[in-house]
Amino acid sequence: MPEIIVDGKSYQVAAGGNLLQACQSLKLELPYFCWHPALNSVGSCRQCAVLIYQSEEDTRGRISMACMTAVADGQRLSIKADKVAKFRELCIEATMTGHPHDCPVCEEAGECHLQDMTLLSGHINRRFEGPKRTHNNQYLGPFINHEMNRCIACYRCVRFYRDYSGGTDLNVFASRNNVFFGRAEAGVLESEFSGNLVEVCPTGVFTDKTYSQHYSRKWDLQSAPAICIHCSVGCNIYPAERNGILRRISNRFHSQLNGHFLCDRGRFGYEFVNHAKRNEQVWQRNQQSKCTDQLDTQQAFNRLTELLATTDQDELVAIGSSRTSLENNFSLQCLVGKENFYSDMKSVVQIQVNQLLAHYRQVQQSSDLQSLEQSDCLLLIGEDVTQTAPRVALAVRQMSRNAGIEKAAALGIPYWSDAEVKNISQDLKSPLHIISHCHTKLDDIATSIDTRHPDVQLLLIEKISHYLIVDANISTQIDPDNELDQTALAISIDLRNAQHPFILTGIHLGQNSAIFTATLLLSAILYQLNPAAGFICTLPQANSLGLSLLNDGDCDLDAALQRLTEHKTKTLIILETDLYRYYSVEKLQYLFDNVENIIVLDHLLTATAEQADLLLPTCSFAESHGSWVNYEGRLQGGIKCFAASKQRRPAYQWLTNDTDFQSIIKDLSGLSDCLKTLGSLYPKQSGGFNNARKSVRESGRTALSSYIDIKEIPPDNDFDSNYQHSSEGIASHIDKNQSPAYIWSPNWNSNEAVSHFQQTDNGAIRGAPQGILLFDKTANDTVFRVKNATGEAPLAKPPNVDKLFKVLPFHHIFNDEELSSYVATVQQLQPKACLKLNSQQAQSLGFTAGEQLHYCFVPAIISNHDRFKSKETQSLPLQIDDGIATGVILLPANIIQQQGASFDNWLLLTRTSTRGES
């Protein structure tokens, strides 16, 4: 470990980094703008200047940029020397000459890195009397606000947007101090990661528009460490609330998952918590008076007990939820018994999830995103991760930059010297092979793209496995004319040659079971060849894996529906799931009509909740503690951010007659060996001081609720965790043993303060649990109550191939997930529903783009589950898209999910005018 001497004191620092990183890890206060822990150095802002001395005798030193100077053993430098302090102050003074007088009306104020650095550098008086340059702003969509006057030209935005996340529509225009950062034309930002500009930009140029709509200064927000519930990655987030309104979501650093960045669904999909359709009261349908009665909480508990007491065990069915916490599902399962508890996944999905569980247990653990970013060859099979688990796609983009970084390293250029690495790597990319049925947003960085019919995909994957098993020299025996063989061989050679090859796939409704099985097999083979091989499989929802662990393999949603149709059911309990997303109205109506009591627990008035005879209002993720199992089997705990209003209470409380959270997790942790340490996610000390969820500067304490009653209302209690709903208690930057409730450190008001919470440079946050890896080799028993996986579904053959198309879904970041779809701003960006075919197929059938076409699902296997299959045809406009394999038709994922069959789907197309012809 090299030793450096800063202002006369010597420190041990990590080798290979630059001086700014070293100072950051030592928590020394050195200002910076253009450097970013994930974007590295370009040395353009001149803020991080330090004085470097040649030797002990050198007293003059020379000014150097810390972010551009490699750490060397015995290096002497000064941060505090007058000369360099003055230099930094002058730099910032020059930067500020054009800065507007905006702080009072700037959303960034109070967490502005520019404010922080200006104060840190000591520049407090404006001397410049001349005029300021100004810019016109652009409309950038419903999420991001643009106020270009505030720009200090640090270039972080374009470096993040273009280089890091692969966006193309944000750029820099004009020159010198006139530079403009925006789009060529006003319009919605296209990147799925545009929200990160809010945090990446050190000023108020890019701010969160949704937050501005119900704005509150950062110091007034109440927050707690939570988990994003919008996809299966389980990114770490900080929800922030004031006065009962969830104001925004910001990033919470997790070194192995999301790092510094979130996707837009996670960042802007939160407003379902404030939605007008949120449930706050208990409602009961009154059959006599034909209206709905409101019950008080005690009555509701009594009614629930009464309904359950009068229902026989075999007349009781409960459906759990993959979008709610493990605790809620567990409580429901305990209440109704294992045999009556079903998951909310259709069997095609459930079977694959069970297969995945078996794979995790018996073959190979899954990998985190950090190791994906370090991989040097990736094979992506059949999953449009940019749309289904967007944060994974961002990691894939980092993986593709590794070849360039390696090339630079060979020339002696360190990875952090961003501009040089970029220059050296040019178009060089690490191999990324994509096998899919349609084009995806990752195509721009792919080495090979195989857009194929599923049957061909299967063949290709099997061939790759084959070439991995047999010796690579076999290439001599390959038929040079067989294109598929060539592709398979090329991919297998890349996988073989890589040090950390990766397989990335996903489970969704359109995922073909045979392909999925083949992919698992391929990954297993690769893993045997190379133990450093990684594997990631994304899942449909935030807790799909958690629910599947609790639930028995065959108790899926289709099974639940079958039971409802075949056996008399008196009481049906539905936990936080909207069945109308999975089945058609007619089908569900028939079922609902035959059930006497429908009890729904949900925090939103979903279509299913509207059918309830007894509706119990639950809490969203922000109002309740809860654990989630992400795609890799990482169990993470979310701490509740604010107390629920009115009659809302966590589902686990409704279902366990008000049992407290700590007792629930105690019961839950007894289920399996791998859950033993569950309690460590929710430490609860008795006595002593708790951590404050609010900052010490919180304002308005004696006035906020005065309009209700001028006597102050006491703060809410939280008896289940070490955090309290108040600004009293230990501030997060002081308590080193707790996950911080918010990121703030003296002098560092912005999220850049995160470095003050990291153990090492860019390392984990001290005190914050990293989550429990359930399938870790050290856990000898990972079985909750689950039987082994039931095996795979057969690859169905179509009844008549000519007139039918294989239906596969197209996903969209703002379309697929249930909760974010309630949010008005998200809805604005949802694509119009359509059918997609390639032009060749459309032409041969005589269809033209934009034409309204009738379609009708034709199930390949007529199973019992599809008894209620809608015979009705629906219609959608046709869109031509040449990135789609022949024989395949694309439909929005949510439509397939609702109207399609359980297994393979085939579609019959008819023209609106001339019915009956295809």
Binding site: P100, K132, A174, N178, F180, S699, A703
Partner: protein
């Protein structure tokens, strides 16, 4: 003994000097304009609300008796949607006035705020907002700030250049 008599004499002498007490409320004492009494929210010289809901007054208030919520008008102007001061808590320290970057919040020489019902000590925006500029007549924040509002586009505030033409090729 001597000092005791002297003291007695001094006390008696005061019986003949004029009283300091005034016949309040018939007679009103003089309070200087910078007296720290009842708080008002003022308007700028154009008659628009000065408060931009920046929250600085609320933050600096030592007893935390100000609570407000920002909202935005159609033209982008920030204003307070609600603005509450709990005068049951206010200690008339004047910190809020000092912190206010727009001269919106000002203390006035009025202290007659007694109420029978404590709830009435909550002053909401409609109780606080006056129609004049208060003590500071000329200051107009939006004419200095870079944010565009109706009637003042980009580059039209004091000491601003016209917006950059990003399509120009000139260096």
């Amino acid at each position: 003994m001597k000092s005791q008599l002297e003291t007695l004499a001094k006390v008696l002498k005061h019986s003949f000097s004029p009283a300091d007490t005034v016949q309040y409320p018939e007679q009103q004492p003089y309070l200087s304009p910078r007296y720290r009494g009842r708080i008002v929210l003022t308007r700028d010289p154009d008659g628009e609300e000065r408060c931009v809901a920046c929250n600085l007054c609320a933050t600096v208030c030592p007893v935390d008796c100000i609570a407000l919520q920002k909202t935005e008008l159609a033209d982008g102007r920030w204003v307070a949607e609600t603005f509450d001061i709990n005068f049951a808590r206010c200690i008339m320290c004047g910190f809020c006035e000092e912190a206010c970057p727009t001269h919106a919040i000002q203390l006035t020489p009025d202290f007659e705020m007694a109420e029978y019902d404590r709830q009435n000590l909550l002053y909401r925006k409609e109780h606080l907002l006056i129609s004049g500029t208060g003590k500071y007549h000329d200051y107009n924040f939006y004419q200095i700030s870079g944010k565009a509002i109706a009637g003042k586009g980009k580059g039209e505030a004091q000491r601003e250049l016209a917006p950059v033409d990003i399509k120009s090729l000139l260096p």
